[in-house]
């Protein structure tokens, strides 16, 4: 009787979910997606993604603990050995995916984001901005000269200045 109880307790321990590896993986996903979906909206967390790096660090720590748990606790009986093989595969896969996601994020945040043309020929301070005529959303032609001379909404005077914002596009 005593022996049976011990065995079932042992089985339960092995079956218990390796929550660290799952939490680590989920947090990695959250850390990656929260940049475009949330943190990009605030200049403090956009210009340098420290919030995401912090989340990634916590996630990586969880993954390491999860890996240790999967590989450290080797089973003694046949059944438990099988379980731990599965849990090793799962843990390794999740750890691999986590590392890949972290790598991709670091790559796009610190390397790819710097692949910009040098734009040495762009108008500099003190130079006249090149004139242009482009279509507005209704298809109407709008020139820089026109923008400079027409009053701002609710005002009577033309603007003191025009801020040209070039952006990558909506696609």
């Amino acid at each position: 009787m005593q022996r049976v109880n011990q065995v079932s307790f042992h089985t339960m321990t092995i079956k218990r979910l390796n929550w660290q590896i799952w939490a680590g993986f989920l947090l990695t996903l959250i850390a990656g997606f929260s940049y475009p979906l949330f943190f990009v909206n605030f200049p403090v967390t956009r210009d340098f993604p420290w919030a995401n790096l912090l989340l990634f660090a916590i996630a990586a720590a969880l993954v390491v603990v999860g890996l240790k748990r999967a590989f450290g606790a080797a089973g003694s009986t046949d059944t438990s050995a099988k379980r731990s093989t599965l849990s090793k595969i799962v843990a390794s896969s999740l750890a691999f995916l986590s590392v890949a996601i972290i790598g991709l994020f670091l790559f796009s945040a610190f390397i790819m984001s710097r692949w910009l043309p040098s734009s040495t020929g762009a108008p500099q301070v003190g130079q006249k901005a090149p004139e242009f005529t482009l279509n507005d959303p209704t298809g109407k032609s709008v020139s820089l000269a026109g923008l400079r001379s027409s009053p701002l909404p609710g005002q009577t005077n033309p603007p003191n200045g025009v801020l040209l914002i070039f952006y990558r596009g909506y696609w």
């Binding site: 910009l116 000269a145 200045g161 952006y167």
Partner: protein, 113 residues
């Protein structure tokens, strides 16, 4: 991602108008695309279309082949022009995660008066 800057301009639009500054957004997106986008995002300042990237090229801002289907697009950049059309402030970011903040631009704009 690219829109956090435009959103922050829209959020501070009153301040820009109070400073006498008209923000103007330019990209390769077609007028139809801009129409949809404006309806969705609620931007109220001018959005201009440069589908062939001609103006973008004249400003030397072409980021070759970076758009959908290898289209040339604009790299992010901001220019503050005074009433004579002379450039008074430029921001050519070296990292497209990093963009000009409205406070920065308004500070530069205060010097135009």
């Amino acid at each position: 991602m690219c829109h956090s800057e435009l959103r922050s301009i829209q959020k501070n639009l009153d301040k820009f108008y109070a400073a006498g500054i008209l923000p103007v957004a330019i990209s390769v997106d077609k007028p139809e695309t801009n129409r949809e986008m404006l309806a969705q995002a609620g931007y109220t300042f001018p959005f201009l279309s440069d589908p062939k990237a001609e103006t973008i090229a004249r400003y030397d801002l072409v980021h070759a082949g970076q758009g959908e289907g290898g289209q040339d697009i604009a790299r992010p950049a901001e220019f503050l022009l005074d009433s004579s059309g002379t450039v008074r402030w430029v921001n050519l970011t070296e990292n497209y995660f990093v963009r000009a903040r409205p406070e920065q631009i308004l500070e530069a704009a205060a010097l135009l008066k």
